[in-house]
Symmetry: C2
């Protein structure tokens, strides 16, 4: 399959859907909706929404039905970036080559834009007009999956431990704790939600979960590696910024080669988990390669 | 009816339920759960949860089934207070006589504790273990109601316009925009959610909505009045703090007497909206008095 064409096609669908679901810039308060849209349309790869779509396809579901949840997922991801970039947190001035939300709109507006995007995700997930043919029981499960992975024992928890670990020597279990939660949790939730909406049974969901856990961690390790070896254009942030900040990373703890090996190993584990599925899982297989091969 | 006994009884139930539903302080990351619990258990009146319980009772529902949603509502309310108090926002050092979250845990931890509480609300609302006998369709409606009222066109929107109005001359429609959203929206959502969970039909929901709109606005006006005439012990914050900050308030715009009259008028409108209900609406009637009579 042509993964690039696949990614491009679904990225365009997600862009259109996000534009449709987000309140427009004329809706009051206009300044808030402008700040929300600024960061949502800042040129992300939409990896999580596309993973959700691909997971839905893997279990034979209708990918149109997954778009509201895919957009909700991207709103949650975007809120986390806005808050991470705040002066009180990572204090980043640029993301993807553009000034960060608080640099353009101010700290207070950025906090509120993040809050509103997180909330908007749940407005969308529970909106009866966009439920399509998804049974309410499944919608509750999807909401629970996304919320859990984004919450205090998921993404936010990972961010807390990451911050607390800055400049400290940390051990390997702590590093995996951070990575599986800070980045991995949302990617796993995207895949599980895609499966749920696609009508997956317990066995298919278990396979998707194994894929999601491995691919999510592989993604974060590859990101760490890229921070060491990548170039600024690919990454949109300064090379070595993790190191400069004393952030815990795989290359710092294991060395660059071992980190790369671990990412490749996880990629293969992810692909192996898709064995029960046929060709319909090809997009997920391709994405596992895409995530890791860009750097390892 | 003895409203004080009613409030005390249900406040104790809500406290126990919150303690049960929130991750404990030993759950990792412990620092995050400690920060979340610090603000949740900072001595709130639990007015929104009790309103939800009373609305459920008004339509003949089982008040036990409303507790998870009532706690979720309180988590949303608490997150909004933590973020409002941040230096980038209102920059408050004290709330209810205790140091604010960021004064104890730092700005970053306070932002994340707020984010986690908002997310935890949706974890709880969608948790199948706490669904009781509420049909999934109704649970989705409750989630939608709470999210919408908390979002960019509800509470967060009200906060944005409130901040943008500081130190400016604003007109009456803008003041009502702020008040109906910043405080009123969550109170209305509490009442609507209580009705939904209690099995209210369209007509009963419409009556509850009229009650909630009037009572929510009355509450905010009474709060404004209290800021001018109250004492620090009642309010837990400095008297005149709104004025000092150049905040838009009813007394500032209408004068103290007219603000009081408007609150009383809204109280009566709220109580009138309960006419279709019998004695079961007495707690809601009592709360309408309680909200306004403390100050007007």
């Amino acid at each position: 399959m042509d993964l690039n064409a696949y990614l491009k096609h679904h990225l365009a669908r997600v862009e259109r859907a996000l534009d449709h679901y987000l309140p427009d810039e004329e809706t009051l308060p206009a300044s808030l909706h402008k700040a929300m849209r600024y960061s949502v349309f800042a040129g992300g790869k939409r990896l999580r929404p596309v993973l959700m779509i691909a997971a839905c396809e893997t279990v034979g579901g209708d990918t149109a039905s997954v778009l509201p949840a895919a957009c909700a997922m991207e709103m949650i991801h975007t809120y986390s970036l806005i808050h991470d970039d705040l002066p009180a947190m990572d204090d980043d001035d640029f993301r993807r080559g553009r000034p960060t939300n608080h640099k353009v709109f101010g700290d207070a507006a950025a906090i509120l834009a993040g809050d509103a995007l997180l909330t908007e995700a749940f407005i969308l997930l529970s909106n009866p007009n966009f439920a399509g043919s998804i049974p309410p029981q499944i919608r509750c499960q999807v909401i629970h999956t996304l919320a859990r992975c984004a919450g205090s024992q998921g993404m936010v928890g990972g961010q807390v431990v990451d911050m607390e670990s800055e400049g400290k020597e940390i051990n390997f279990p702590t590093l995996e704790y951070i990575h599986t939660r800070k980045t991995g949790a949302l990617m796993l939730a995207a895949i599980q939600a895609g499966g749920l909406i696609g009508g997956a049974g317990d066995e298919a969901l278990a396979s998707l979960t194994r894929y999601g856990e491995a691919a999510g961690l592989a993604f974060q390790i590859a990101d760490d590696v890229l921070d060491v070896v990548g170039d600024q254009q690919v990454l949109g942030k300064n090379v070595g910024s993790d190191q400069a900040r004393g952030k815990a990373t795989y290359p710092a703890l294991l060395g660059l080669d071992a980190a790369r090996s671990r990412a490749l190993e996880l990629r293969d584990l992810a692909i192996e988990a898709l064995d029960p599925f046929g060709d319909q899982a090809d997009p997920l297989r391709g994405i596992a390669h895409y995530i890791v091969d860009r750097t390892c």
